[in-house]
Every structure is written in C-alpha cells, then in structure tokens.
C-alpha cells in the first residue's frame, strides 16, 4: 500500500523540475578547480571538465564569455549555474571564469599578450601622441581609489582651468572590465570628445590588476577614437591595457604628470620667450638706429662735399673775375680812355692815380 502517492512525471517535466530545484538551491555557485579536456566547438562553444583530486564536472560557456585564455591544467575560479541538459547530462553553465593560481594568471597573461601582439595591437606605430596641453580630459577610475585621489591632487597642483569628467567605475573584480569598457564607449560616443582618456587605479596584486588584462577591455582601449593614457598599479606592473594604450604611465601620479604641464614651468617658459622677444626687439631698434645714424652721417658728408665743391668753383670764378677788374689793369700801369677818338675831340684819360682831359690831335689806324 502506498501512503503517499509518488507523482508520475514525464521525462522533460522531471528535467524541468530538477532545473527549477537546482536554480532555487544554487542561483549562482563559485567553484575552484583544474581545467581538463578544454575544447572550442564551431568557434562558438567552449566545453571542458572542472576537476580536483576526486571529482569532475562538465562545464559549458560561449567563446564570448572567455575573457582570458584558458588551457588544460590551469587552476580557475568559475561562477556558474548548475543545469541538467535535455539529454540528462549534468553540467555547469559558466557565467565568468578566471585563472586563480599565480602561475596560471601569468600563463593566461602570456598567452593573451602573444595573441594580441600577433594582431599588432601593441605596435609602436599605432601609438598616437597625447595632446600637449589638453583642456578637456576624461578620467575612468574608482573615485574611492587612492590612485584617483593622487591623480586629482597632482592635476590641481599643476594646472588650472581644466575640464575633467570622471566616470566612476569598479577597477577590481569581475565587473570591472565591462564597466571600464562601457565608460570608454560612453566617452568615445560623446558629441564633444575629450582630448584624452585617462584610465587609472592604484597598486594591487596580480589578481587585483587582472581586469586590465581582460581581452575585450584591451581591444576597446586599442580601438578608442580618443587617445588613451593608462596608469595602473605600480611602476613594476605592466598590464595588457598599458600595452594597448597610446601611452603608459607608471602610476596614477605619473599619469597626471604626463598629461598636464606644470604651470610654474610653463610660466617660466612664457616669461623667457617674452623676454627673448623684448631683447630681439631692442636689438632690432638699435640696429635700425645705427643704420639711420649711418645714413644721416653719409648725407651730411655728401652735403659737405658738395658745399666744398661749390666753394672751390666760386673761388675759381672769383679769381677769374678778379683778373677782369679794370682797377687792377690800371694798377699795372695801363690807362683807360673815355670819349670819341677823333681829331679835335676831347677825351678823358684815367690812370691808376689820376684822371686827365686831353685833346685828340692825331689819329691813325693801326693797320
């Protein structure tokens, strides 16, 4: 006799009920294990087993969800939803996956770096120059991060009149890459584009900085219309986002120094240039004054030369004129006769000292 009747279910109903129960019990589960049998089908679907010393469970995800390279033997942490397939196979449908072992993080980093380098994302010729003196800057960071505070303090110390738009995002954890990507897309779609996008966060462990090695984020940085400056972690940390950016800063503080000139330095430069022009102008005025003085002296000399020439000519004429003076002729003993030289007429005779009147008594032609 059966006290409580067992419900009779169709197979598909049983599967649906099981999935409902699983979903209720494990909305999302995080599991750490080692990857085995990793394979990609039709370039779309990823299958592998997650195992430890004694257990193994099948996993499924899409290629799109694979943000970092994974390979057999890697230790990973997944977040997933358990599911019974229509064929009765139990598997985990993965939401996120990331390498968890230190060596595995490094391995994943190296694999992605090699892949993206082959595609040319890190080539030096792709790098654009950052604006020399930007006035509109976009910042992507967490406003709670120490690195952000350092950045803001330094730009305020170094320059004035800047317009800075800050996109507050997570810079750590599995949500970080997508949030940074959305912020990048937001700034790149603005009607008035910022002149540079600065992505910053302070130091952290390799795992803390792993969002900046996310493949989609690295590609988004490389594709940005607006030049990018990435300052993540400490000087010794290099992420793939750093490599894909137009310029890498060693730290957030260094990012501020690279993007903003130091106002005292600029003011010194301005004063130097204005003084240089003042000296140039003064030299030019002196040069022109000297040239003018030279020309005036030349004109005065020319006038003097002409004056002397006129004086010489006048003196010469005066001498000629002097030779023609009748008094001088009389002084030499000659006499001057005035009147009509006809017999019986009276004429006046003038010598140097005397004047006489005489009668003409004889006239004879010389020829």
């Amino acid at each position: 006799m059966e006290n409580s009747p067992t419900p009779l279910l169709a197979v598909s109903d049983f599967i649906a009920l099981t999935n409902q129960t699983l979903e209720y019990a494990f909305t999302s589960v995080a599991i750490e294990g080692e990857v085995s049998g990793f394979k990609v089908n039709q370039n779309k679907y990823v299958f592998f087993d997650l195992k430890d010393e004694t257990g193994s469970v099948g996993c499924f995800m899409t290629v799109w969800q694979l943000r970092q390279p994974i390979e057999d033997g890697m230790k990973v942490i997944i977040t997933a939803a358990p599911k019974l397939t229509d064929w009765g196979k139990f598997s985990l449908t993965i939401k996120t996956i990331r390498p968890s072992g230190k060596g595995d993080l490094k391995r994943s980093f190296d694999l992605l770096k090699e892949k993206l380098a082959l595609e040319g994302l890190f080539r030096p010729e792709r790098k654009r120059l950052l604006p020399k003196m930007p006035h509109y800057i976009a910042v992507i960071s967490s406003t709670q991060a120490a690195g952000y505070a350092d950045f803001i303090k330094i730009i305020n110390d170094r320059w004035g009149g800047l317009e800075v738009d800050v996109a507050h995002v997570q810079v750590q954890g599995k949500e970080a890459p997508d949030q940074i990507i959305r912020a990048l897309q937001f700034f790149n779609a603005k009607e008035v584009l910022p002149e540079v996008i600065v992505i910053i966060r302070g130091g952290g462990s390799l795992d803390d900085l792993s969002p900046f090695n996310d493949e989609q984020l690295v590609r988004e940085i490389a594709m940005s219309r607006v030049p990018t400056l990435v300052g993540v972690g400490h000087e010794t940390d290099t992420t793939l986002s750093d490599l894909a950016s137009d310029q890498r800063a060693a730290t957030p503080s260094n990012a501020a120094q690279l993007i903003i000139p130091e106002k005292q330095e600029v003011l010194r430069h301005i004063r130097y240039r204005v003084n240089a022009v003042a000296n140039q102008l003064s030299t030019e005025i002196d040069r022109n004054r000297e040239a003018l003085k030279g020309r005036l002296e030349e004109a005065i000399s020319s006038i003097r030369r002409r004056q002397e020439a006129y004086d010489d000519q006048l003196e010469y004429r005066k001498q000629i004129l002097s030779g023609l003076d009748p008094e001088k002729v009389l002084a030499r003993g000659y006499a001057m006769i005035r009147g009509d030289l006809k017999i019986g007429k009276t004429v006046e005779i003038e010598t140097n000292f005397k004047i006489a009147t005489a009668e003409v008594v004889y006239v004879k032609s010389k020829k």
Binding site: M133, H135, Y136, T143, I152, I155, N156, W159, G160, G161, L162, E163, V164, D165, V166, A167, H168, V169, Q170, E175, Q179, I180, R182, A183, F186, V192, K263, V266, L267, I270, R271, R273, V274, V277, A278, Q280, L281, E284, I285, N288
Partner: protein, 68 residues
C-alpha cells in the same frame, strides 16, 4: 567647457602666434612695439589665469554597472 579653460588655451595659442610673428617674414619694426606690448599683456593675463583659475572636476552621474 568653461570659459576660463577656453580662455587659457586660446590665450596660449594667441601668444604663440604673436611671438612667432617676431621671427617671421612679416616682421615690421613699425608694428613690433605694439605687438610686443600685446604679447606682454597676454603673458601677464595667462599667468593670472593659471594662478587663479581652478579646475572643474565633474564625477558623472552616469552608471556604468549595467548595459543600457
């Protein structure tokens, strides 16, 4: 964008152009003094702006934690 910020950038560009004029082919001594006075006043104005004008930092209200 703020007027102050534009003003500094524009003034810097104007100053660059003025100073470049002194080295260019269009240089004329007759106009140089007036240009120099203009450049000196502009430099003083930029200095005042840089020392007095603050940066405008805006944390956007947009949320980036989910797809729109």
């Amino acid at each position: 964008m703020s007027k102050a910020k534009n003003s500094i950038t524009e003034k810097m560009a104007k100053l660059d152009a003025l100073l470049a004029w002194f080295d260019g082919d269009e240089f004329e001594l007759e106009a140089a003094t007036a240009k120099f006075i203009q450049a000196r006043e502009l430099a003083t104005s930029i200095e005042n702006d840089l020392l007095e004008v603050k940066n405008s930092i805006t944390v956007l209200s947009e949320q980036f934690d989910r797809k729109k």
